[in-house]
Amino acid sequence: MGYIADREQFSDFIDKLKEDYEIWAPKKFKGGGRFSDTDAVRYAVIESPDEIELNEKSAYSWKEAVLPPSETLFYFAENHAGETEGPAKKKLVFLRSCDLAAVKRMDQIYMKNGDPDYYYERRRKDMAFALIGCSESCENGFCVSMQSNMADNYDFSVDLVDGHYRLDCKKEAWDELLKMAGAASADVVPQRVTENKVKVNIPEDLSYKVGMSSMWDQYDSRCINCGRCNLVCPTCTCFTMQDVFYDDNGKVGERRRVQASCMVDGYTDVAGGGSYRQKNGQRMRFKTLHKVLDFRERFGYQMCVGCGRCDDICPEYISFSNIINHLEDGMKEVRGND
């Protein structure tokens, strides 16, 4: 059902939801940007709808709502391990179409690649999603090319148009809440991006052979393997185990899993000092092919959702969409030389 709500009505609706849900949404942090006098948009738990940033893109993705950058799995006391408590509340996450498409990718790894993941599942099972409509394409996004611009597995959508919240609600129970708040029925379709300035083309015959092309060499020096691209990516799922012990009692501590990056040193270290992919160019190749080749081979659809956050965040101004578009040249270089 579609609704139009004014600020008060939408606020009432959110207040009702807050009884059961923690509301995660992009929020603007004044002066919190990476350069002086710039703001940051990041995910945070919000109390009022006024805090939800409905215009600008968040630098970090929705994923920290389901996969905290650092998550304690259990506590150690000598040889005993005690599990952490699960989330106290359900979560409602406001996110854009690209991120909503990323939810499916995250679920694919954490719920369907091998056994389901206990910690992921206990957060994910009670999650609801609110789609933030996109009235225009963001700067570096290429969601249309990656077919993530039309994700529709949301519980309700929201567009702020001329001071009014336009909502498309798919959850009957929430229809009631909206009616109670006094929202007027209307025909509402979430705003969608149908064209991006950035477009990508993935060669149909893309194969691992492209790793032998010279296209990766420039990243040996251009990329500084800081791993920011992985941390902002809504589809990057990797983590590393980390043990922490308390200073005042060395027998007690906790095991955490922290987000990991395939671009950063140490990611592939094996016993005795061996490692794979020492060069940054090889790591770039590994990441790129995961996003646009091997995930698709394994699961049947592309991993990258084209949000463009990796381009936004890269301190070396490396553009991931450019890399994708260079794959055709890379394939030209290696086609036929078996």
């Binding site: 150690f76 954490y110 206990y118 206990r122 799922t237 012990f245 094996v270 081979e297």
Partner: protein
């Protein structure tokens, strides 16, 4: 609700077998190991404070599993601070392991180097005790020097029951050892029927590469060769990503792979 597979369980060290200065076998209690664990599978050994390390199973008893561990990192160093009667926290088993049905009835060649012997020890030992299950069994094992030899008791038994060929990179002046790499032994093999000859190769990447090249040179069909990959499995459950090679997760799809699959995998 899904089972929490991240929480390790305590397992008692029943025996410590010292092979070399830096390599010991820890025999751990594990109920029903014989039914539940296959050679080639691995466990995560969990050392609170130090982290976890994936370790392959080097032996399987009725209710025990062996880990042959080389002291090379923070986790394994800490493991060596534990003695018989102590407990270690472990979780597993993970991975596919070797399937005996893949090798039954064949002429089997196992080539392993150093700690690479651990994951295949169960396979060699199985056929050394059941020679009738194969049409001949050759094991080529290599160590750095006589001081670095693992599983000395097994080697004696194997030598008596199967065709065992051992090399050392350097005999350090001790007589009775063949110096050289395992790859030098491969061309000397004379399988009766190449089509029915199967091979398992486990060791450091260059050793596996050259050994497999030698086996193919010998005429063994590529589809008859298996190997086991070593990667840094942080979870063992297909989630953490560290062991991914192309579209393959070594922890859940492997670590044992047919060579035909493995040769398409690019790190």
């Amino acid at each position: 609700m899904t089972k929490n597979q991240y929480i390790p369980f305590a397992s008692k060290i029943e025996k410590v077998i010292r092979h070399t200065q830096t390599e010991y076998t820890f025999r751990m209690h594990f109920d029903g190991a014989k039914e539940k664990v296959k050679p080639g599978q691995f466990f995560e050994i969990s050392m609170p404070k130090y982290g976890e390390a994936p370790i392959s199973v080097s032996g399987i008893g009725d209710d025990t599993i062996d880990f042959t561990i080389r002291r090379v990192g923070v986790v394994t160093n800490e493991v060596f601070e534990h003695y018989e009667g102590d407990s270690l926290l472990i979780r597993g088993p993970y991975g596919n392991g070797f399937q005996f049905s893949d090798y039954d009835g064949s002429e089997l060649i196992v080539v392993a180097g150093g700690t690479g012997v651990s994951p295949v020890r169960g396979v060699i030992d199985h056929y050394a005790h059941h020679p009738e299950a194969v049409d001949g069994m050759t094991a080529i094992v290599g160590f750095k020097s006589p001081d670095d030899m693992l599983f000395r008791d097994d080697l004696k038994y194997w030598d008596a029951h199967i065709d065992l060929r051992m090399t050392v990179d350097s005999a350090k002046g001790q007589p009775g050892y063949r110096e050289g790499f395992v790859t030098a032994v491969v061309p000397e093999l004379t399988p009766k029927n190449l089509a029915n000859t199967k091979a398992i190769v486990v060791g450091p990447p260059p050793m596996m590469r050259f050994t497999i090249a030698g086996l193919i040179e010998l005429g063994i069909p590529e589809e008859n060769i298996w190997l086991s990959q070593e990667r840094k499995m942080c979870c063992g459950l297909g989630k953490c990503g560290h062991c991914k090679i192309g579209n393959t997760y070594v922890c859940i799809d492997g670590p044992v792979f047919p060579y035909l699959k493995s040769k398409t995998m690019v790190d």
